[in-house]
């Protein structure tokens, strides 16, 4: 009982303190700014890697187009990438020491896909107290169709996220990471596959704030 009354008195005191604060300095202040950079049509040129496979590292170039419905939602209408595989040391060792056939590994040759983009975070950064740069963080979810060297075409679903730094009204840089779960269909495969993409892109913006 005594403990309860102690807790209650503390609660009442803190509520009273908050009220005093509110009475002395009422109101909330916010900086209301026009967004300096708004997007509508976006064309991206990307370079990326597929880092997850232990036997090769895929390096690819990608092109994509996105349409921004609002400052929060966008549709990455289409993206297509073509990659080259750089074999890892492990794979070389397997082929040399254990006679594994070079064709035994399935590699991503190219892929196309589409995503929806949700952009919940928008903000700015002070660069050494001399400049302010604006950026946003987005989440991605979509579907991708992969072409593998052995198993052929296989669909996948992907989730991921990324960020964007605005350079000016026309140009921004994007960094995206997505994880693709490749479905066990096509090419006689029975298991799920995992393909991770990490890419850096130059985005050209048209029809927005410029």
């Amino acid at each position: 009982m005594r403990r309860l009354s102690l807790v209650l008195s503390l609660l009442v005191a803190s509520a009273a303190l908050a009220q005093v604060q509110e009475l002395e300095n009422p109101g909330v202040t916010s900086a209301i700014q026009d967004r300096p950079y708004r997007l509508l049509h976006e064309l991206d040129i990307w370079v990326g890697v597929l880092p997850l496979d232990a036997f090769y590292v895929g390096v690819y170039a990608q092109l994509s187009y996105s349409y921004h419905f609002s400052d929060r939602f966008a549709w990455q209408v289409g993206r297509g990438a073509y990659g080259l595989a750089a074999r890892t040391q492990l794979r070389g060792e397997l082929e040399r020491t254990f006679g594994v056939q070079p064709t035994a590994n399935d590699e991503v040759q190219f892929f196309v896909g589409s995503d929806v983009m949700w952009k919940p975070l928008y903000g700015k950064l002070a660069v050494l107290n001399r400049a302010v740069i604006h950026g946003e963080v987005h989440l991605l979810g979509g579907a991708t169709l992969f072409r593998f060297t052995n198993s052929g075409f296989r669909p996948g679903i992907n989730i991921g996220g990324g960020g964007r730094i605005f350079v000016n009204k026309y140009v921004s840089f994007r960094f995206d990471m997505t994880h693709n779960i490749v479905l066990p269909t096509g090419g006689g495969t029975t298991s799920f596959g995992n393909v991770m993409t990490v890419n850096l892109g130059l985005a050209l913006n048209f029809g927005g704030t410029e």
Partner: protein, 534 residues
Amino acid sequence: MKTATRLLASCVLAASVTALAQGAPPPTKPADPVTGEPAQPAPAAPAASDGGVAAIAPTAGTGTGAAPVAAPAPAPKKIDPKLFDDALNDYFAGRPKDAAPKLFDYTENVPSTDENYAWAQFFLARSLIELKLNHAGAVYLARIARERTNPAVLTKALEELQLLTDRPHDEVMIDEQVFGALDLGFLPEEIAGYAHYQQGLVDLRVGNERWATTHFAKLPEGGAEASRAKYAMLVTRLKQAKKDLPKEMIDQFFELAKDPKLTQDARNDAMLAVARLRYELSDFNGALDAYNLVKLPALDPGRAALYLEEAWTRYQLGQVHAAMGLLTTLDAPSFREEFLPDKFLLKALIYRDLCHYLPAKRSAKELTRRYSESLDAVRERDDLTRDPRLLRAASARGSTRRARVFLESLELEGEQLGRYAGTFGERMFGYMTRVYDLSRAEAVRIYQQRLTDSVRVEADKLLRAAEQVRLMEYEVGLKLYERVKKGSKLVALLEEEPLKTNQVSFKFADEYWNDELRTYRFSLKSRCIEETAR
């Protein structure tokens, strides 16, 4: 009778000697760089020097009574003509520190009729400016302008002086005694333009608008000076306008505010003038448009006066939330030292209009609390220049600010001079020290003179605000204890503007970002009941 005649004769003789020394023969010795007057009577031999170093006159121009005692002139030194070439080699090899003492030696030991004399002065000035001793450099350039021994050097010296006017400089020595007194007939066009502008300004300052107009009319149309002259004329007319503000003046200021030949600062000043004039005519929307057209460089904190005036305009338009946002801006570290007693009054008015009476009373009290020492000083009739807040406020604007900045630059350069004690040698260092001491003494005098006037203006401003605040406290006190009738409803006539789709809101958490300073908006619900709502 004989004694009286002899006395009279000796007086006449003395007077004629003085007259001769003052005006007649061209001095073979360089004029004193501080006062611009001949340092000593002309020596007999052309190569002889009277040692101008020892002859800094304490009178006139920029000198004061606190002059050093003149030391006996050193014996003239024979100068190797190669010294000038050596000095030039040093200068053009990027060694102004080595060039300066050689050039000084040269100018002190050759007659002013020497063909290289004016050039030596010019390069000495350039060397001193490169050593960041701008005032000393200006002294030599001004000396060239007054002596006019070599027309080719004169033009260059005037160009250099014109460049120096962009920095803190001796306004009396450069603006008034050089550009304000130049014979304009022989000058090249660009320098003549600047001189006409300066002479027009001097005329305006003494209230002679007709003469100023004559000078300004000679400025090349479309030049930067012509635009600046227009601005100066408009400001003068505005000051003279008593009650009826001429409306066409707003358009003229507006035109100037768009003139690309003016600096951005001057354009902003013109736009602020437009805003103020519109405010005076109760065209608050027009005033707000003008405030919005004031362009600040990216991430520049701007000016406190701009924000406060905009806040008053928005308040008059009923945009109290935006007005309060601007008052938040004025609490930013960049403006913490600003003297803005009105700020507390406006804050109290806004809280009062939103029927938050306790905060209104607190804001009103804040003024008397914050400026209590200054108010006490005014009431006690103390020396107001000793009050740190009033002193800071008074020396932050206009001509007092310019005087303060020049004084600070002199002090800095005086310290800088100490570094060259060894390089310059005893004679040159002693001379430069005396130049700086005299100039500093005069700069202090001018600063104090201007400060005395401007501190009174600031004290008046404070007293007026304190009076308003006392009325406000009384009014709010009555409201606090007003009885609320049964069934009274809250009314919110002062609605907040909703956020637009293209806008983003960053909640303020005591961290000021320069890019946000103009965009703060305050959010507070009105607590007014029907009867008391604004």
